[in-house]
Assembly symmetry: D2
Homo-oligomer: 432 residues x 4
């Protein structure tokens, strides 16, 4: 007779602040952050997580909490979790850690989430030049479905996943990260990887100081924000330190490819039910370093079998010519930006405000593709949106009357989430 | 009683050279290229196309034809086709042309194709720094499936599509293209958009001189290389000139997202069976210009219902740190490059040469995703490969013996497609 | 701000017996069974259920509990739940009740289930002539996946659903049921619809006596055992009494089409999270009676968007010729029996005992199809099994060695679930 | 260099009658019907087929050709095709013949088909008691799509397949068939297996006399009418005679599970592109006889990867209570009949005539499932219809106005296909 439920190895209390949890949370990568739990290979265990913003964002109509968010402490990961094999021997550097996501979801009693766009002065986002203000939409969950009072007319099943899952870096890998990111900073690019130290023991301050922030995805996985890491998927993480030291957090009820508005998934608290397997010497066996050291590797994934199924998609295209008409050379980032802007402008015609669509494309299960990357000088990117998430037919049609006036929406509903200082786009179809 | 077969409006003769076809082909976009046929909205019609390289590439083991290819004449599009409505009134600038791909495929009797990588000195490709030599793989078709003598051990159903489909630009749009691409050229970037004029009438020389090359995708669609434009898909193209002047070509039996090796799809001759609908004033109704003029728009697509179905995918990740270890800022192109390189290195361990994998990922139905585009400083791109296309299990596993020696492959088979001047990667597992 | 979690309207205590629950359970259909809860249309609510056998079946290796099961009390439904509209007006006869399954699953802490075959003398099953003994397999859940110590070598994601969901019948409909089923009984066919009355108040005994047992699916839905009624599906139930009086139970972690071994799904306790909508006069609007009265109708369903995705299926065929070689006339039941027997015999060759396969096909997500029903005299039925649930390749192949000896299984592991009185089939491949 | 196209081994001429074809066709199974072609294992070859009715049914509005059809000669199979291995050694009794369908479709220039219901006096169909008259709908193909002037408002992609594919029986198997079917006939059931002999040589008359008709599916495959045997599927056929003697025909552009109206698929001429593999001793290795002799086996199938993808289905249920209200015992045929009748009555409310829906459910890609087969006394069958094939939303909804009058259809359009002797159902919504 087997134990019937997964063993809970990390438990959180949503009534407590991030730094008050019984098992300390962390928002940086460092080899010396001590494990808070140990699991055996093959064991079925459960990890709970608070939301990425640490409970600061509230279930209300004001975006001021998003606007004033302190980004330097976000993510609040659960872990590290030390992994040992069936004989009790720890995973070691050079192994692969295969992590199967057997189940996941919101924490019972906390079935809601939020999607926001950061203020341009505070983090911004992919389209911050177009959407410079903080906005916020609340999502309520009805089982597999999410809906938002701020974005009426859409409802969709979640492709739930952890935004962050990774192993601890070795000292050497950490040094590589810090070096390369410092060089970028020194070249004048702000990269959000700076660490803000809270007070603590000298040892804690040393570690926090040396550590890397969790904002970007890196060689250890981390904040890769891959929307398909859902139920049944498998993640093969390189192991850099003894015990692997697996950490995870930043649960997303749903996210679109790119998580474009940055605070862009449906952020929530949640749980993961996991099983680990150690593939001994798997890094050598399966990964090939791409860079000056053996550490320049990336994780591998397998996609799970229960993703939401959509058969009809409307697809928007972008090319690497920017909004000013300037030609860029095979730049997929510019092309994707234009594809997203095209989609926003298109859906605007169906009665949504542009802010609503920006948030929606950040968090609904839309797919961003690198369609063409060689046809000089234009990269071609596409954004595919499942049509079934809307309560109206959004496909182009021959119509007797224009699209706009036929739509009865409340596009201003997101307005209340602004602080009122900046004008938002006005929807022509809502004026009548 | 309806006509039972589509009306053939463009017919090609594969025994003739591109310039010898009864209906002239073209490789540039210009409003004054005269239509070769006219179709009515709602009519079911058929267009035939020669392959993008104009029959120059041969079904043999030598890549010298790829190496010496003259890229300035490629694409050889069929059309333009003038579209009128049921009353005979032509589509006009400002309309949308909805083109449904009812069916498509290789031309009967010519069921084969090729995938190549261009020489670094002659076009190159996404990974030309890693694969500087011309290579070639031949693919034979068995109905829906393709297999290659040069890349043994894989077989997959095609997601067949036209690489190029677009409407004619107006004079103003053409000028915009030429201006912005010239600026890029003047900044020192070679963009393959230069036109090489063959002799002809003065009028023809003028048009050819003014026209834009078909290499990049642009506002009119064109060489967007979207692999999902297959059976049952619908393409909403902006109309810039009277009659729309639809052209198409560059048929692909199959292509991976990005078409990374540039000559990277399975290129073939083929046919399209189409139906057009005119959405009057559809540009104003549905598209929003993104740039200084009303012409800065992009097509919209709907995906068809009969794409090959795969349930298991292995996914490779890349971040925007390049092979030298240098950090780039949210650069999706760099991230995708690293994801592809990771996949190549991985599959190399299963007995394929790196050149084989480079070509395979160019043409098999793999998906390139923009997973994260905001987590500063790293963009995260992913490449998902359907595992069912391989005749071996390519997932990571705990093994008693390393992967390599268990594999019995002929990784050198592509070698014969080189001209011998440059060394290729050696597969360690093939030495025993 | 919305309530974050569904309101729990029926709660069960797994430590209590079925008849000890705070809200009484029921195992019959009758208009006068009093509602235990009331919900509003649009409300998001939760119903908990004990397992169909009322906790009698234990997590152990002995099938004696299955063998001695008292079938006359099974199902133990939760409800009835009275449904009113937003204004508080109850659903009324002639309406349609649209029930959306927003989520469902096992009860936390009770994540396991069982599949059994009944003894021929006690209920039997579809193949009871071939498998006359009681057997039992225990399934443990790892999130979306189930595995069984008694059937090693398979693991699959659940297509979880309630076996029973239905509305209360009116007195007239109840009389129709009792009449037609009594006629069948009188013709000598045993139909399991007899009610066994436990003691109670005279009123309770009257109701119990008049009521219909829950074993068969009927006009009100009921035990329809449709495996696809999972997350996101919608059920349109006819309303026969004021308030609709919705009841549900018999939760299945997974079931194959037909639930062939009768106790054949993975039976478990569980919960449903539901939303109801009342479609006024929906029976007249949408349903057409098929029989002498307006009550001869059946529910309609919509399938949800997150079913497990399988791309590869092995399909077994059966025709309406029985095991003795006798020809039946377009008999789909005989054809499906033969398809199932063919599948059992086939998988037996891969190292499973026939009893193991019988239970497996009862509970894994296999599909039973009525492929041909007109090609006289043979009905053709097919059984499609997803190949990915096995840890070996079960497709036919040219092999150097026969299938059997290559397989290392423990086909006798189910033996211990017998009571030892009857021999089971011996697997030839296990003798070596 | 491989041959680029499949070798055509059976060619038909649609301008000729079935008995005038260069390679004789056949409509019976007999071991002595001589092969018309030989193929090697691994060879890619093409077989052409006339339609099942031999060209008798015309593209017009009259059903008189269906009404007067002579059913005793239908199917007109192409073949037999003798199969040998790479060394030229023929397949032999006891082998398995793996047939891969690499591609298939209508014959070029003949892209149309028909669906009919037979007159009750001439073959009838699953619902002949409800639809006793001959009807006919013509379907035109636009690539992957079919539409019908007689059934406006629907259009769907085909799941094209051969209705008949099988190997020749041995003398012993033929004797078994004839014996068991004769017993059925002698018991008074008409089974359409009687052979009607045309004149010929005495040898031909002997063979025709001994042979079995091709109407039912049997141990050799044959007319199994499995709608999923489409592109990429694989069929494992038992071999009973030297060379296997593969025959095929009865091409269906599309069919619903059950092919309920008997002439119920979209019947057409067509082609198959095939590859065969011989699995030596595969019958013993993989199949288990279910009956008194080793010959009582059935084929196995694998489903292909490019079936049309639908994400939304409306599902109708039936139980084994017939239209008179009589209870049957676990009778899946009765249950499926009721499910189909429920679907017909439902769609009738959306503006289609019942005859139109009967034909539609016969030929569109709907799925018939054996959902419950043990819940005594009711079998539960379901019929799932993809909603995307309709040009209106057919899901139940709360409406201000009843469904009927909102629909603008021409439900009488099928009327012209009757011969006028019998009334057809009148659609209430068409009277206004």
């Amino acid at each position: 007779m087997a134990p019937l439920s997964p063993r809970v190895v990390v438990k959180v209390d949503l009534k407590k602040k991030p730094w008050q949890q019984d098992q300390p949370l962390h928002n940086r990568w460092h080899p010396e952050i001590p494990p808070v739990a140990e699991v055996k290979a093959g064991e079925f265990f459960r990890v709970e997580m608070i939301d990425a913003m640490g409970g600061v964002i509230k279930d209300n109509d004001s975006a001021s909490d998003i606007k004033n968010l302190v980004l330097t402490t976000t993510h609040h990961l659960s872990g590290p979790i030390r992994v040992v094999d069936e004989e009790g021997v720890a995973a070691k550097a050079g192994d692969l850690l295969a992590v199967e996501i057997c189940n996941l979801g919101p924490l019972p009693g906390d079935e809601w989430g939020f999607t926001g766009s950061f203020d341009r002065e505070n983090g911004g986002g992919f389209l911050t030049d177009h959407f410079p203000c903080a906005t916020k939409a609340i999502w309520y969950f009805e089982g597999i479905y999410a809906y938002s009072p701020q974005i009426p007319g859409v409802r969709f099943p979640g492709l739930t996943h952890p935004g962050v899952i990774g192993t601890a870096p070795s000292n050497e890998l950490l040094r590589i990260w810090n070096d390369r990111e410092r060089q970028l900073e020194e070249s004048g690019v702000e990269s959000l990887t700076l660490c803000e130290i809270e007070e603590g023991t000298p040892e804690w301050e040393r570690i926090a100081n040396e550590a890397a922030r969790t904002i970007p995805g890196r060689e250890n996985g981390g904040n890769c924000d891959i929307k398909n890491l859902s139920r049944g998927s498998k993640i093969y993480l390189p192991v850099f330190v003894e015990g692997a030291n697996l950490s995870t957090g930043d649960m997303h009820f749903s996210q679109g490819d790119g998580e474009i508005s940055f605070c862009g998934a449906i952020e929530m608290s949640g749980f993961l039910e996991l099983k680990c397997e150690i593939i001994r010497n798997g890094m050598q066996e399966y990964l090939t370093p791409m860079g000056p050291t053996p550490l320049h590797v990336n994780p591998i994934f397998e996609i799970g079998p229960v993703e939401p199924r959509f058969s009809e998609w409307l697809v928007f295209e972008g090319i690497s010519v920017d909004e000013s008409g300037k030609q860029h050379y095979l730049d997929a980032t510019v092309a994707y930006k234009r594809a997203v802007l095209n989609a926003i402008d298109y859906l605007f015609k169906f009665g949504y405000s542009k802010e609503q669509v920006y948030l929606l494309l950040s968090c609904c299960p839309c797919e961003g593709r690198l369609s063409g990357i060689v046809d000089s000088p234009n990269a071609v990117a596409t954004l595919a949106i499942p049509t079934a998430i809307f309560d109206q037919d959004i496909r182009p049609k021959n119509r007797k009357v224009p699209v706009g006036p036929r739509v009865v929406r409340k596009p201003d509903v997101l307005k209340s989430t602004y602080d009122g200082k900046l004008p938002i786009t006005k929807n022509p179809s809502s004026s009548s």
